[in-house]
């Protein structure tokens, strides 16, 4: 195993491989950081080049784009409330309020640093998991996946803040919206009203951009000031502070990273869920988080970015062990790597172990380089928040429109973005939490599919499987712990009063 680890490291440390890694990182940090342009697009464009390379070089070029895409994705989330990709929606929750408070540099630095640490933790977990990869994945069948998704739905409570009823309603609305389109199992059309563009359902990116970016634009226009009307302060100091924040909250990073890895293992969940899981969990477990989260608490940023980067290590687990891609991007990557002779599956853990190690090394080295690169430009990026609204509004609006369109090249998606922009504005104005709606939209179809398959396999008895019961216990803890904590703090407050 050590031989393989060394062979893997040497393989990617050759000059050509390293150079290609840098190309991948630069593409990922610039192109992929734009809203709507995901790593999938960049990888699809790069694949033909990869076919002319050797195995290590191909891994460096293709996988670096993917491995670090979540790092730079946070930039537009923090600065403009426009999510750069699926994994950076929850970054908005505290990152954008921090930018509004003039702490953009701190938020960015904390985000980049925790991304790097999260990425490394994800890679280490993958490393440790190598001997038990197959049994681990075999433990989880459709019933267990269903219950895991339920744990995610329980997060709605945590994400609803002080308005749980409104949160549940918003989550339900998300579920209903998720049903629009062709039912993947029966082929039935649901709520499509014979409109062909509804056949494909609502895509996540236009909905997210609408819900979060458009209301901010309206507020900015009404207020007539830039994103932040407070002085920016010393940007270098902000950056230093952000890096320090990440190290101060190292346990939070570890916890969130493990959540990220866990989400990565479940095929189909992806970064769009990892960020909300980590955010919800941090909100439930960090002291005082219920009051400060959503108002610019750096811990909200740290938890999210650690999780989304750690997720990549986790998502390699089912891919390497069984050839089941943990995400559609990984499916694309391995579809391409097959051509240079790398086939996911059992060989990756035996004969081709050195290639697996080269991927792990790439995750570690890639995330560190990307974070350093992003940290270097933090000050310049943070200054964007001081631009006049007359400059900012058209720029952000253009970003929102292009982002919505680019995700699936459909004009209707731009209309969907504006429709959800209106919904988002009224939700924000009325104090309705928006994250549960997104969570419902993402988790609805996954929960439905796993439940459908589980019932066919085991009838309703699937609920009594040991794995399901254990995960259910976890769910109960997730829901009960904050309630218990709340009651305790109230009791304590009463005691101190009396």
């Amino acid at each position: 195993m050590i031989d393989a680890a060394i062979a893997g490291l040497i393989g990617i440390l050759q000059w050509k491989a390293l150079l290609l890694m840098m190309v991948g990182i630069v593409i990922s940090s610039t192109l992929v950081a734009m809203p709507g342009i995901g790593s999938k697009t960049a990888i699809a464009l790069l694949l033909p080049i990869a076919f002319t390379l050797n195995q290590f070089e191909a891994i460096c070029l293709i996988m670096s784009v993917w491995a670090v895409s979540n790092t730079a994705n946070s930039i537009t989330s923090i600065l403009f409330s426009v999510p750069g990709g699926g994994g950076s929606q929850a970054t908005i929750m505290d990152g954008y309020p921090m930018a509004k408070k003039g702490e953009a540099a701190r938020a960015l630095a904390a985000s980049f640093t925790s991304s790097a640490i999260g990425g490394i933790i994800g890679a280490i977990v993958l490393l440790v998991a190598i001997p038990i990869l197959r049994p681990l994945v075999l433990l989880l069948g459709p019933p267990e996946f269903f219950m895991l998704v339920m744990v995610g739905i329980a997060m709605v409570g945590a994400l609803s803040g002080k308005a749980p009823v409104k949160g549940i309603i918003a989550g339900g609305l998300g579920l209903i919206i998720s049903m629009v389109g062709v039912h993947i199992i029966t082929g039935l059309h649901r709520f499509t009203f014979d409109q062909i563009f509804l056949i494909d359902g609502f895509k996540l990116i236009p909905v997210t951009i609408g819900l979060f970016a458009i209301p901010e634009l309206i507020y900015m226009g009404v207020k007539g000031t830039g994103i932040s009307d407070l002085p920016l302060g010393d940007l270098s100091k902000g950056r230093k502070q952000g890096i320090q924040d990440a190290f101060t909250h190292r346990w939070l990073i570890l916890r969130s990273s493990l959540i990220g890895v866990w989400v990565g293992i479940i095929p189909g969940l992806g970064s769009a869920v990892a960020d909300w899981f980590a955010y919800g969990s941090a909100k439930q477990t960090c002291p005082g988080a219920r009051e400060t989260f959503g108002k610019g608490d750096v811990r909200g940023v740290i938890a999210v970015d650690a999780a989304t980067n750690a997720k990549e290590g986790g998502s390699l687990i089912p891919t390497l062990a069984f050839g089941i891609p943990g995400s559609s991007t990984l499916a694309l990557i391995f579809g391409g790597l097959i051509i240079v002779g790398i086939t996911p599956g059992r060989d990756m853990l035996t004969k081709d172990l050195h290639l697996t190690f080269s991927m792990i090394w790439l995750l570690i080295i890639g995330t560190i380089i990307t974070s350093i690169l992003c940290l270097t430009f933090t000050r310049q990026l943070a200054m964007a928040t001081k631009l006049r609204p007359t400059l900012m509004i058209p720029v952000i609006l253009a970003m929102a429109v292009i982002g919505s369109f680019a995700a699936s090249s459909r004009f209707e998606d731009v209309l969907i973005m504006f429709a959800f922009g209106t919904i988002g504005y009224f939700m924000r104005a009325g104090g309705w939490p928006r994250p549960p709606l997104l969570l419902g939209l993402v988790l609805g179809p996954i929960a439905e599919r796993h439940m459908w398959t589980s019932v066919q396999l085991h009838g309703v008895d699937f609920l009594w499987r040991p794995g399901v019961l254990i995960i259910f216990a976890l769910l109960v803890v997730c829901v009960a712990y904050p309630m218990f904590q709340d009651r305790n703090s109230k009791l304590r407050a009463q005691e101190t009063e009396s």
């Binding site: 999938k40 699809a44 029966t186 089941i324 559609s328 499916a331 097959i338 051509i339």
Partner: protein, 411 residues
């Protein structure tokens, strides 16, 4: 002379611009419609599988054979076993030859059987050709006792088959077996070949139907057992062709399912594409499939490449669309339970009336009696299942030996 310089210069400039313009127009005409355009390659499944491989392979190599050398981009449009992509091509795609698609090989069959969700009409699509012939394989896991076709046919235990959903081959093959009297059940919602193999490995299901190319590796790694195949014969497959084994009706059905395998990776564009442009696309498709680079890539990825002409594909489709109602209704009923009616005296009762035994075709068989779903009558009166006694002569309507009874009417 000097004063003419200005107008002359202007004149030559204008002439130059005009000439450039004309030259450019001519160039556009010569280069054809596709110069500077982008062709969308719609793939009917998510990235990673066989369809995706062929879609991307053609997207990389076809453009150089199209005059004007257009860009080609790949868009994955999975859903409903390929019906989503076909619906898109028939109704939403641009009808000018800038959108082509690799669609599901079961396209015609899904249309003929009026599969739920079908909104396309093959008449509204123009075939370009197929990139490979295909072989479909029914495999079972190694941790169950069935090793041969006959054992599968005789199995008393219900054999579970993982499938994506209606419209996909993984659904249609077990559905055909069910129709032919096999004791199988289809578990839907397991999307993608790898996920179905994992379900077998985990013990959730017993088997699945998948294309040979995508199953080859799993046979080696997971020890999956091939039972029989349909479509193009394969040297490496020491198992029988399915049509040699089934009942007469089953054979007709197997032929129906086997027809599209000849064009296993079918490419289409929309209707309404001008004839010369369509010919251009078909020629480019054919040329690309004989391209050395493409063949080299396919070989490295261990995928077979075999060009089938659009005309052959259209003929196959016509055959399927023209299949007799009898064959189609037989095929469709495969998904539903087939009930048998039989009158015989009760010979044995077990589990407090939950299992009732009687003689059917010379053998003692049992049926399951559900407390909720099975209607039980004695002398015309509705009773509970425990009211049935040994020796009573009853009329059974049941889903084959070992299956559940719909009703039991006893005297």
């Amino acid at each position: 002379m000097k004063k003419f310089t200005g107008p002359l210069a202007l004149g030559s400039l204008l002439a130059g611009v005009a000439a450039w313009g004309i030259a450019d127009t001519q160039a556009v005409n010569a280069q054809g419609f596709y110069k500077g355009k982008t062709i969308k390659m719609v793939v009917r499944s998510a990235p990673g599988g066989g369809y995706d491989f062929y879609g991307r392979l053609l997207a990389r190599h076809m453009a150089k054979y199209i005059p004007g050398n257009p860009n080609m981009i790949v868009i994955n449009m999975p859903g409903a076993g390929g019906i989503v992509a076909a619906n898109y091509m028939a109704s939403r795609a641009k009808k000018n030859g800038t959108e082509i698609a690799i669609l599901t090989r079961e396209l015609a069959l899904a249309q003929r059987t009026k599969e739920i969700g079908v909104r396309y009409d093959l008449e509204k699509l123009s075939a370009l050709g197929s990139a490979a012939s295909s072989t479909f394989l029914v495999v079972l896991g190694k941790n169950q006792p069935i090793r041969t076709y006959q054992q599968l046919k005789d199995s008393k235990k219900t054999v579970l088959f993982g499938a994506t959903g209606p419209g996909s081959g993984s659904y249609q093959y077990p559905s055909l077996l069910k129709k032919d009297g096999f004791n199988v059940k289809i578990i839907t919602g397991i999307i993608g070949g790898s996920a179905r193999f994992l379900a077998i490995e985990r013990g959730d299901t017993h088997g699945t139907a998948n294309s040979y190319e995508s199953t080859r590796k799993a046979i080696k790694e997971l020890g999956l057992i091939p039972i029989f195949y349909n479509g193009a014969p394969h040297k490496a497959l020491p198992v029988p062709h399915m049509s040699t084994l089934l009942s007469k009706e089953g054979k007709q059905l197997a032929a129906l399912l086997g027809a599209p395998l000849a064009a296993g990776r079918p490419f289409y564009t929309t209707s309404g594409v001008p004839a010369d442009r369509l010919k251009l696309l078909r020629d480019a498709f054919k040329a690309a499939l004989h391209d050395k680079e493409l063949l080299k890539e396919a070989k490295r990825a261990k995928r077979n490449v075999a060009w089938t002409a659009a005309g052959v594909m259209e003929k196959v489709n016509q055959e399927i669309l023209g299949a007799s109602d009898a064959v189609i209704s037989a095929y469709k009923s495969g998904a539903k339970k087939v009930y048998v009616k039989h009158t015989a005296p009760v010979t044995k009762i077990k589990k407090k009336g939950k299992r009732i035994y009687f003689t059917y075709k010379g053998k003692e068989i049992k049926v399951k009696v559900s407390g909720k779903r099975t209607k039980v009558q004695v002398n015309g009166k509705k009773v509970k299942r425990k009211a049935i006694k040994i020796g009573m002569t009853c009329k059974f309507k049941f889903a084959g030996p070992g299956g559940e009874a719909k009703y039991i009417k006893c005297k």
